[in-house]
């Protein structure tokens, strides 16, 4: 009997093979994909786990946290009341620094507000299924961060009851906003972003709200979740419409995410001030916003995971992915710092050169080096797996990222203004107690809103986890190479 013909190979000039033949010749090395949900969890477990958080009796720690958060938030209230009663002179703004903490805090919070929609929209378009474990929390964070951000431009006008003049409404005096000002573009960019983010967040939550409604025991819960669920019945048509709407909103949100911080960067870069006017600002600000957003997501999600026991849903895979995005965007920010510095020299403009030397070695050098240490150096630690696997360390680095990104906005805003073109008017900017109160209190405002979210709404998009992250959701589960491993493990 003749020996069987040798199997075809692909490493020579064999040329085209049919797909069937190729499938027979490939011998992939064994490197299975990691599961997105650990513990081989069932649909039921996921539902119970997430719904249980907002169905259980309010824990004592929640009440304590809520009370403390309200206390902190009252600082913002005090600051704002004093500001409105007295005038914007109570802030530390004075020549030559006429932009201070208010815009720093605005950009800081808006930057944080980028990760939520980025995770939901951009990662949705990129088909990254791991986003489902963290997107809801991140979106909530986005909305609350936008709320905190909005406080500063709203109240910096002083007579806040005239803030509606920012909008181009017809009026008897023919007063129109200056459409050529990037600050006016901010009004449209931020309000559009806020609106779409809320829509996206709410719409994505509807299937989960339907489940909560169906599980509700008390009348008020049935009414509350029933109203919010808008008649969701899990029908095929509902799901079809939902998925199409989700995709459309993802497509709409993606350019919005990028445009908001681009326009925020225009606030500075469209001017002629050394240190502000540089062409790399738009992508640099966007990268910085994503960086700070992911920093805050890590800051929030790691304690939540510990408190609610969500280790199977938010596992090392998710932490790794977030750390890597933080590393990538932090490095982009570092690249932008380096390019600014290099071109400040290469451009041979003495004013530009001075602005950067002054940043690094002038009166605000301390702020500059805090910024560099936190934003450029600390995320580089995420190169190492051991550090990414050390949750406490990841959390500490995420705090560094938050601190560094606040200082970045401070350095940009204040150093260029404090030492401007006219040395006789140079000064040293310091915030007043009202500045400090108002900013400190925003962490309370954020926490109050976030705690309410945790108490009443599902903090993980469990419908999506069930549909995308669990292997049993895939009808072709057995046929797919990436799932075979898990299948074998389950026996």
């Amino acid at each position: 009997m003749p020996p069987p013909p040798p199997p075809p190979t692909l490493t020579d000039t064999a040329g085209p093979l049919g797909p069937g033949e190729v499938a027979g010749t490939v011998k992939p090395v064994d490197l299975p994909r990691k599961p997105l949900v650990l513990g081989d969890r069932s649909y039921h477990w996921v539902t119970e786990k997430v719904c249980g958080i907002c169905e259980q009796k309010t824990p004592t720690w929640w009440w304590w946290s809520f009370a403390i958060a309200c206390g902190i938030a009252s600082f913002t209230l005090m600051g704002l009341v004093y500001l409105v009663a007295t005038g914007v002179g109570v802030w530390g703004l004075a020549n030559p620094v006429n932009w201070g903490w208010a815009i720093v805090n605005f950009v800081f919070w808006i930057g944080i507000g980028h990760a939520g929609t980025l995770i939901s929209a951009v990662l949705c378009l990129l088909q990254q299924r791991w986003r489902t474990s963290i997107n809801r929390t991140a979106e909530a964070m986005t909305i609350f961060a936008v709320v905190c951000a909005g406080i500063f431009p709203l109240f910096h006008v002083g007579r806040v009851w005239f803030a509606w003049w920012l909008f181009p409404l017809p009026n008897a005096n023919w007063i129109w906003p200056n459409f050529r000002s990037p600050l006016e573009w901010d009004v449209f960019a931020v309000s559009t972003y806020g609106t779409v983010s809320v829509l996206f967040w709410y719409m994505g939550m509807i299937p989960d709200l339907g489940t909560l409604r169906d599980r509700a025991q008390s009348t008020w819960r049935r009414f509350f979740y029933g109203t919010l669920a808008m008649g969701w019945r899990n029908s095929s048509r509902h799901w079809h419409n939902y998925e199409m709407a989700y995709l459309l909103l993802a497509g709409l949100s993606t350019p919005l995410v990028l445009s908001v911080h681009t326009i925020v960067s225009f606030d500075f870069a469209a001017s002629i001030l050394p240190g502000w006017h540089t062409t790399i600002f738009p992508p640099y600000f966007v990268a910085g916003a994503i960086f700070s957003g992911f920093g805050m997501v890590l800051t929030l999600i790691l304690p939540l995971r510990a408190v609610f026991g969500l280790h199977d849903l938010v596992n090392q895979y998710h932490i790794d992915a977030m750390c890597k995005i933080t590393l990538a965007t932090g490095s982009m920010v570092g690249y932008a710092y380096a390019m600014e510095f290099f071109i400040a020299w290469y451009g041979a403009n003495p004013y530009e050169g001075f602005a950067f030397i002054n940043r690094a070695f002038g009166q605000y050098a301390w702020a500059y080096w805090i910024m560099i240490s936190c934003n450029v150096i600390s995320p580089q630690l995420f190169w190492f797996r051991k550090i990414r696997e050390n949750t406490a360390l990841v959390w500490i680095i995420s705090i560094f990222v938050n601190v560094g990104m606040w200082f970045e906005r401070f350095v940009i805003t204040v150093t260029s203004l404090a030492n401007d073109f006219l040395p006789s008017s140079w000064g040293y900017y310091s915030p007043t107690i009202v500045d400090i109160f108002t900013f400190f209190g925003t962490f309370g405002v954020f926490s109050v809103l976030f705690l309410l979210f945790l108490r009443f709404l599902p903090l993980i998009a469990f419908s999506e986890v069930k549909a995308l992250s669990l292997p049993q959701a895939d009808p072709h589960n057995h046929d797919h190479p990436q799932n075979q491993r898990g299948q074998e493990a389950r026996g």
Binding site: P16, A23, F266, H277, T278, P282
Partner: protein
């Protein structure tokens, strides 16, 4: 594109050339490369003997076009490795073969370095290479205040060393990634997968910096008064688009009559089409931001770069105005609208059309960035004229010659190494990819 398999066995090169081709394609390409590069060198010689910079720019244009494609390919290989996606494994191997052309590209930069060192006016292309070069204002480069400030960076020795460093970095990562990927085919050592990731992670950083400074040295410094922090990002965006468009064309041929028959599917094209859409928007975002911020601030030290791309010294509109408009509409708007639709990303003639379109206008973008500069004293009040948009014989010869050499290197690599990364851990996902 064929989606059914065939067991026809022929060499990949002959397969690529099409059934019935009597000449082996690599031979044809090599002949074309020798002819094109030879003509380009004749052009260089003619230009240098006449003191005409235009043929030298032809060389730079051709070099830049293919360098951008290879740089984009290098970044895609690294990004695909880092992202660990399943679908991209098949196309990544094609890019790895394409990187075989990098060493030839490095060699083809040598004529420009030789001009810098041995030609009587080294500043024929990059004015600052010759401090005695006469600027349009009638003074020498050496007396120029901005040159004096930038001289520690813009000088012959530093330029040469930097260029060698850039190619050293590009070649190191291109070769290491290729070697490791092909090695995995042979020994199936799974530690290579991790090594690919480490190499890619480090490579993105090193190559990102090298690309940035290469763009500053080779393109931005042609008008050495001008500066933009965004410039490196522009070249990155343009290179990624160009590589993607070239890859789509390559994949069309390989799927239609080459080594990927029945393996490369519309679903792969869909993914690549989505990335092409993203980079189309990214290119426009970068280009617009750079333009807009300079326009808005209206500082003469910066605006002159766009002004000479709009009008002559006497205020009349010049050819670059039309080229600029072409870029807005043809390099962004039309491909953007085209790629928005699902069908255009999966129907082969359509995706082939848009890929060719993007490559064509990538060339125009390079012309826009490289060609116009203030040249030679002229009898107008500002004493300069702007080099206008022209396409000449030397341009075409260099484009074709270097392109043929890159393709020859690609096919040679394809013939020597596997067409498919058969031991890659995600190869089955790539083969079975569907939407």
């Amino acid at each position: 594109m064929s989606t059914t398999g065939t067991s026809t066995r022929s060499s990949p090169a002959a397969g690529l050339a099409g059934a019935g081709s009597r000449r082996p394609l690599p031979g044809l390409l090599l002949a074309l490369a020798v002819a094109g590069i030879g003509i380009g060198l004749v052009g260089l010689g003619t230009g240098l003997s006449a003191g005409d910079a235009r043929p030298v720019i032809s060389w730079l244009l051709g070099f830049s076009f293919w360098t951008s494609i290879l740089l984009g390919s290098l970044f895609f290989v690294m990004i695909f490795n880092l992202f660990d996606a399943g679908w991209s494994v098949l196309v990544r191997r094609q890019l790895e073969h394409l990187l075989a052309g990098f060493k030839w590209i490095a060699i083809l930069f040598l004529p420009l370095l030789l001009i810098a060192w041995f030609y009587r006016d080294p500043g024929i292309l990059w004015k600052w290479l010759n401090p005695e070069h006469i600027l349009p204002n009638g003074y020498t480069v050496a007396t120029d205040a901005l040159y004096q400030a930038k001289e520690p960076y813009l000088n012959k020795t530093a330029f040469t060393l930097r260029s060698l460093l850039y190619f050293g970095v590009f070649l190191f990562f291109a070769n290491a990634l290729r070697r490791n990927s092909f090695g995995l085919d042979e020994d199936g050592d799974r530690s290579r997968v991790q090594r690919q990731k480490v190499l890619s992670g480090a490579g993105v950083f090193a190559c990102g910096l090298a690309l940035t400074f290469a763009a500053i040295d080779w393109f931005m410094s042609i008008e050495f008064h001008w500066f933009s922090t965004m410039y490196g990002v522009w070249f990155f965006a343009a290179s990624m688009r160009a590589a993607l468009a070239f890859l789509l064309i390559l994949l069309f041929f390989q799927a239609d009559r080459g080594v990927l028959q029945g393996l490369h599917r519309p679903s792969h094209n869909y993914q690549l089409g989505c990335i092409a859409l993203a980079f189309t928007v990214f290119w426009a975002y970068i280009s617009f931001s750079q333009y807009f911020l300079i326009y808005q601030a209206n500082i003469p030290e910066e605006t002159f770069w766009y002004n000479i791309r709009h009008m002559n010294a006497d205020g009349t509109t010049n050819s670059w105005w039309w080229v600029g408009l072409t870029l807005i509409f043809c390099n962004f708007l039309l491909p953007f609208l085209f790629l928005l639709f699902y069908k255009t990303k999966v129907r082969i003639p359509l995706i082939l059309f848009v890929a060719a379109w993007i490559l064509t206008f990538h060339v125009v973008d390079l012309y826009f960035n490289i060609l116009p500069s203030k040249s030679a004293p002229a009898d107008n009040v500002l004493n300069y004229k702007v080099r206008q948009f022209t396409i000449n014989f030397w341009d075409v010869a260099v484009f074709v010659g270097i392109g043929a050499l890159v393709l020859w290197a690609y096919l040679t690599s394809l013939r020597e190494k596997g067409a498919i990364p058969r031991r890659d851990p995600r190869i089955r996902e790539a083969l079975e990819h569907h939407e």
